[in-house]
């Protein structure tokens, strides 16, 4: 069994390190700092920590103001609320002015589990990806989440970082790095390319092992930078393998699958399959039960890959 860690721990490590290295970094919270863990930033830097209560719209506006005053605010709350409730504030008060605001969408995907549909962000990547000037990072484990936070500090303009609640297998070492617009080719393959982000990266790696036993060589791309997408790497691998399966803990519409399909369709059309949530809301259950119900599993990735190759 691989070492498991919640990605949110990487977020907290990231903002603490960023706060120590750069006194312009401030954190804005919305009454979930004990849940996400960012309360520790407030303990270390009380004057740079603003808990604004349950008020996502105000949080994002305040972040815009702090950015206008020359600070680098990290706004953290659950992805479903930050991306949904405060979308217009993000659009007009942050993206339109191209402000240096970093938005942390916690509890992404159905893998949140028991909290159920209202708290499972399944549309946030689509909502953020459509905004001009916005960067979207969906890290796969705690170390990569920490790296995404540190990269975002040095990225001009708004960045949305989406991460999960529950422990996921550790994929990257402590010194992992994230570059805007760059994916990681975790495994090379010749028959098909699996493109994943977030919690589905470890599923894609498991799917690769199963496919390998069946004599199918699958490459795995961790597309941590959903926007801007690593077009070069994607097209290169699509050309090499001729088929792609995209997987994400998100609606199939508008997220990573959307980004991949939009890129490949005009530039190098190949058959593309998807393992993601199909136009429905989530439900309560253990993360494993919910993933099973929504078919966000390594087995489904294998099934889709085999089917695509048979066609």
């Amino acid at each position: 069994m691989k070492n498991l860690r919640p990605t949110r721990e990487g977020y907290v490590e990231g903002i603490l390190q960023a706060g120590r290295e750069n006194d312009r970094v401030v954190v804005i919270e919305g009454d979930v700092s004990r849940s996400i863990g960012s309360a520790s930033f407030g303990e270390e830097f009380p004057e740079r920590f603003f808990n604004l209560g349950v008020s996502e719209q105000d949080m994002l506006g305040e972040a815009a103001g702090l950015a206008l005053a020359g600070f680098i605010p990290f706004v953290g709350t659950y992805g479903v609320f930050v991306a949904g409730r405060a979308w217009d504030q993000i659009r007009t008060s942050i993206c339109y002015m191209n402000l240096n605001v970093k938005i942390a969408g916690a509890h992404g995907g159905v893998s949140v589990g028991p909290d159920g549909a209202t708290h499972q962000a399944l549309e946030d990547v689509a909502l953020m990806r459509v905004l001009p000037n916005m960067h979207v990072l969906v890290p796969a484990d705690a170390n990569q989440t920490r790296a995404a936070v540190l990269t975002s500090v040095n990225t001009a303009g708004p960045v949305y970082i989406r991460f999960g609640r529950n422990p996921v297998p550790q994929i990257y070492p402590v010194d992992a790095s994230v570059k805007i617009g760059r994916g990681h080719l975790l495994e090379d393959g010749s028959d098909i390319t699996l493109v994943a982000c977030g919690a589905m990266v470890s599923m894609a790696l498991t799917a690769r092992e199963i496919l390998s036993k069946r004599g199918i060589s699958a490459g795995v791309i961790d597309m941590v930078s959903v926007k801007p997408l690593d077009r070069k790497l994607l097209i290169e691998q699509a050309k090499k393998t001729g088929a792609v399966v995209v997987t994400e803990d998100h609606q199939a519409v508008g997220g990573l699958f959307g980004a991949v399909a939009e890129t490949l369709a005009p530039e190098h059309p190949v058959p593309v399959g998807v393992v993601a949530v199909r136009d429905s809301f989530g439900t309560s259950g253990t993360p494993a039960e919910v993933r099973e119900e929504y078919e966000l599993t390594a087995e489904m990735i294998v099934f889709k890959a085999v089917k695509l190759l048979e066609e």
Binding site: V26, A64, G65, L68, T92, M97
Partner: protein
């Protein structure tokens, strides 16, 4: 006595701004005269008397900040910025036109002197709070002013920000409510009542000052009081929508309408009456 003379000196500027607004909207073919005219004295008082600014150095770090949360009143703000020296007044007639720096709603990336881009109602007070937090962290002496529409107070985001401002004792923040009683669809009290306004702001922990929003003497006294308490301050400026052009006053019909030739000439004549 000297003070009165100085204050009266602002009236010709206000008339000039109203004339600019009329000419700009006429040239653009669209815009918001009603809610621009109600803000004129507030803006002139702020930019000529109250705010510490350097028009020749728009990004001066210790400047006072101004957020036009009711972004649709930007023709008045553009005129004030041009007349105060931020850019050439000749540019005013490019309002709302292709390639103009004077966008239909304020775009700070294009025009010097703007402290934020606004236009989606309800967001400016949060931005102003955020800037106030930043100013305090940097230990600067700047003050932050935010102009709100009265219809805009129907946005929930305003009251989230109102809580934040008092919770964090942002005493260097002043909100001004352009209380012109009229919004796009009709009278505010008919569309969605916002009274009792003084009680609401008091209940949210603000220092409340009621002023005549078209009297420089009243506005000056109101602004002088701001920051003297430990609370954020709000000036409820009683104004007249469309102020300065009789047939535009107190009606929602001129919220977002461009005058035709005859109306334009009649309006210019009325404002010229004030210029003399």
């Amino acid at each position: 006595m000297m003070e009165n003379v100085k204050i009266q000196g602002l009236t010709p500027i206000a008339n000039r701004v109203r004339l600019d607004v009329l000419e700009m909207i006429r040239a653009a073919g669209s815009g918001h005269p009603g809610g621009s005219f109600s803000t004129v004295e507030i803006l002139v008082e702020l930019y000529w008397k109250i705010m510490r600014i350097r028009p020749e150095e728009p990004n001066w770090e210790d400047r006072d900040r101004f957020i036009l949360s009711k972004g649709h009143a930007c023709p008045a703000l553009y005129s004030v910025l041009a007349r105060r020296g931020y850019f050439d007044p000749a540019e005013l007639l490019t309002l709302r036109k292709f390639n103009s720096r004077l966008q239909g709603h304020p775009d700070m990336s294009k025009l010097p002197g703007l402290d934020a881009s606004t236009g989606s109602l309800g967001q400016g007070l949060s931005i102003a709070c955020g800037i106030s937090h930043g100013i305090r962290l940097d230990k600067r002496k700047s003050r932050v002013y935010c102009l709100l529409g009265d219809g805009e107070l129907q946005e929930g985001n305003i009251w989230e920000a109102a809580m934040t401002a008092s919770h964090y004792d942002l005493k260097h923040l002043t909100a001004i409510v352009d209380r012109n009683l009229v919004q796009l669809d009709g009278h505010v009290s008919d569309v969605m009542e916002i009274e009792p306004l003084v009680d609401k702001w008091l209940a949210f922990g603000w220092d409340v000052i009621v002023a005549d929003g078209h009297s420089f003497i009243s506005l000056e006294k109101a602004f002088e009081h701001c920051g003297e308490t430990e609370f954020p301050s709000v000036i409820i400026a009683n104004t007249v929508k469309g102020k300065g052009v009789s047939f535009m006053e107190n009606t929602c019909l001129w919220h977002g309408r461009c005058p035709d030739e005859k109306e334009y000439e009649a309006a210019v004549e009325e404002i010229h009456g004030g210029l003399s």
